[in-house]
């Protein structure tokens, strides 16, 4: 059986599983559609949250992001996990106690203002739609790479699958498919990592292997890697630079994570406030299983590539073209790897041609530039099973895992979008008299429309795919996180203050991104360039500044206007204590 057939079988089986769950977990009420009937076990919810959170980018790209930059990109590891500490202590339990279905609903009720609610809906839809485009595109790529269908077909299959279980099951269907998707993706990620760790260090756990001795060289793995990279003109793996910017970026990812509505609403599905606290811990455990493995995969895969290209070490001869391993050819065909024998010596020299020291050495040794001309960072995860010489079914698992990661995140985002439309716009603003049945139908239709729009945008990405994640995190950090936090921790915060804060956070962050990256990310329309960054802060790092502006504006405006009415202050008091959470679940 060839690899593609095997991939189709494994991916097909995973889909059959998701469909089975969808039929079993059909939503019969709005409580089930929006919050899975609030009956999800905290451990199960933790697993679903992990799948909800870990996107195609986490699964396919993160190890590569770390491998190619080294220490400095630890920001992603700390940022995308540290946010859960904020979520567990500052938001999740209180929002669960509040006991409603959506994030804008809390904003609207707490700040007794439909304007505030609509601003929150706008923020939510902007960040979730930008985020979902990346997921749809990621699913399309995963399909086309493993199943040999073109990108468009891949994307259409992906949306059809999500359509079935999200429209049918709502949050309930999504929750249990996410649990299945988590199992698929974590197994797919871990198996190749264990084998590579065994091969390089003899250690079973990659997390231990990363800090162990590299069997072949008799030195610590990180020392060997640092040495090879240094000899070839690359930055050393463990050395950092611009530490303050790194800290700011980490903070930006942390508060962005805590402010993402599709993650927050997962905590509405557990039965009790105490469960929301435990559940955040379990979510982080399941996320850490991948996030603690990723840096090991990154470093080991990087070392594998280096030793493949330089079998005798950096001082010896480079690898001859005919000696390149088989997996190299497999991935060269996909365009993710590319070689060009510039100096015609039949060998492939891979080095940093931008380093001046290397240019001198290259002239001396007769090299005419780096000959590994294409080296996509995603290759580190995608080619891992082949690099480690693992059987075909592991490759098929990686295919299913990549698709599972993309689908689970897309479904979570789509639910956040559709519930904001059906519950916050239709039920509360446009047609308050809508019946329970009518709202459930509206929720299903909103979900269907959201999927169609996301599919369309995935097929015709607006040309700023790379920036969208920065936008989503920046907006989450600058708009929703501070507002939700003030809603809980400041009894005095009133409607005018919160609305002003949200608007200032939203507008300042969007403006900062547009000024440097182009209006609506259209290339060439940027009015300022990278050397004009305010205090040297890149747009991707702006989240905490936007959050600070939000807090500042909110307190200023609030202090000049009347304090919130007594019943709102009582509401804040009641959100702070768990007692009575069961009663609040009704609607």
């Amino acid at each position: 059986m060839d690899q593609t057939t095997l991939n189709i079988i494994v991916v097909g089986l995973s889909f059959a599983l998701y469909f089975g769950i969808a039929i079993w977990a059909k939503a019969g009420s709005t409580a089930e559609f929006y919050a899975a009937g609030r009956g999800v076990n905290p451990v199960v919810n933790g697993m679903a949250t992990a799948a909800d959170w870990m996107s195609a980018a986490s699964f396919i790209s993160m190890a590569g992001l770390i491998a190619f930059v080294g220490y400095n990109n630890s920001s992603y590891l700390m940022g995308w996990t540290g946010g859960y500490v904020l979520l567990a202590m500052l938001l999740a339990p209180y929002l669960r106690k509040f006991g409603k279905y959506t994030v804008p609903e809390f904003v609207g009720d707490r700040f007794y203002s439909n304007t505030a609610r609509v601003v929150a809906v706008i923020a939510l839809i902007t960040m979730s739609v930008t985020y979902v485009i990346g997921q749809m595109a990621g699913a399309g790529v995963a399909f086309s790479r493993f199943l040999e269908v073109d990108n468009t077909t891949g994307l259409l299959i992906a949306s059809a699958v999500v359509f079935v279980y999200a429209v049918l099951g709502g949050m309930k269907g999504i929750t249990y498919t996410q649990v299945a998707q988590y199992c698929v993706l974590i197994i797919a990620y871990t198996i190749p990592a264990i084998f590579i760790s065994l091969q390089l260090t003899g250690k079973f756990l990659p997390q231990i292997g990363l800090f162990s001795e590299h069997t072949a060289s008799g030195q610590y793995l990180l020392v060997t890697l640092d040495g090879l990279l240094n000899d070839l003109g690359f930055n050393r793996y463990t050395t950092g630079s611009s530490l303050w910017l790194m800290a700011l970026f980490t903070l930006s990812l942390m508060i962005g994570t805590a402010g993402l509505p599709h993650v927050i609403i997962r905590f509405f599905t557990v039965p009790r406030v105490a469960d929301a606290r435990w559940s955040a811990g379990w979510a982080l455990v399941f996320i850490a299983l991948l996030y603690l493995t990723a840096p090991a995969v990154g470093a080991m895969a990087r070392l594998n590539i280096m030793t493949t290209m330089w079998p005798q070490g950096a001082q010896g001869e480079a690898v001859a073209i005919e000696d390149l391993p088989d997996w190299f050819e497999t991935w060269r065909v996909t365009g993710l790897l590319g070689v060009e024998d510039k100096n015609g010596d039949g060998k492939i020299q891979y080095y940093n041609e931008k380093s001046e020291a290397m240019q001198a050495l290259a002239a001396e040794r007769g090299w005419q530039g780096n000959e590994l001309v294409t080296f996509n960072q995603d290759i580190l995860v995608l080619a891992n099973p082949e690099i480690a010489g693992l059987p075909g079914w592991v490759i098929a698992l990686i295919a299913a895992g990549g698709i599972a990661a993309a689908l689970s995140t897309a479904a979570g985002l789509l639910l956040a979008i559709s519930s904001a439309i059906s519950h916050d716009l239709i039920k509360s603003t446009i047609n308050p008299g809508i019946s329970e049945k009518g709202e459930l139908l509206a929720a299903r239709i909103s979900m269907a429309v959201a999927i169609v729009v996301a599919t369309y945008l995935g097929l015709n990405p607006p040309g700023f795919a790379a920036q969208v994640v920065a936008l989503a995190f920046g907006l989450a950090a600058a708009s929703l996180f501070p507002t939700l936090m003030m809603g809980i921790f400041s009894r005095r915060m009133n409607s005018a203050g919160a609305t002003a804060g949200m608007l200032v956070g939203l507008i300042s962050t969007t403006l900062y991104l547009f000024l440097y990256l182009g209006w609506f990310f259209v290339p060439g329309t940027n009015m300022l360039s990278a050397d004009q960054y305010l205090f040297g802060i890149p747009p991707t790092h702006f989240g905490p500044i936007g959050a600070l502006l939000n807090f500042g504006a909110a307190y200023l405006v609030s202090s000049m206007t009347a304090e919130p009415p007594q019943e709102i202050q009582d509401l804040v008091e009641s959100v702070r204590v768990p007692r009575g959470a069961g009663a609040a679940t009704g609607h």
Binding site: S74, M78, F211, T238, A247, T250, R277, R579
Partner: protein, 86 residues
């Protein structure tokens, strides 16, 4: 103690717990993982230094422990102050 006093004491205890948890949270990530890394660079770990380990693994482990500790402590505080869920 009246219900109101009890709720106020409960909230103060929660804030204190959050404050100290976030100090540890920041120390493990922004501290040892990033800004204070030069200070602890003398401590070797598996071919690199303590700061690198904190940045790639230690911080995440600390985060997990923190959340579980917070959940355990808060659930106890709920009961002590009589504000737990029935």
């Amino acid at each position: 103690m009246s219900d109101q006093d009890s709720a106020t004491a409960y909230w103060k205890a929660n804030l204190r717990l959050i404050k100290w948890s976030l100090v540890i949270w920041a120390l493990a990530s922004f501290g040892f993982g990033i800004l204070l890394r030069p200070l602890v660079s003398g401590i070797a770990i598996g071919g690199t230094d303590l700061g690198f380990w904190f940045a790639q693994q230690g911080s995440i482990i600390v985060f997990m422990v923190l959340i579980f500790f917070y959940a355990w402590r808060m659930n106890k505080l709920d009961a002590e102050h009589g504000v737990d869920e029935e």
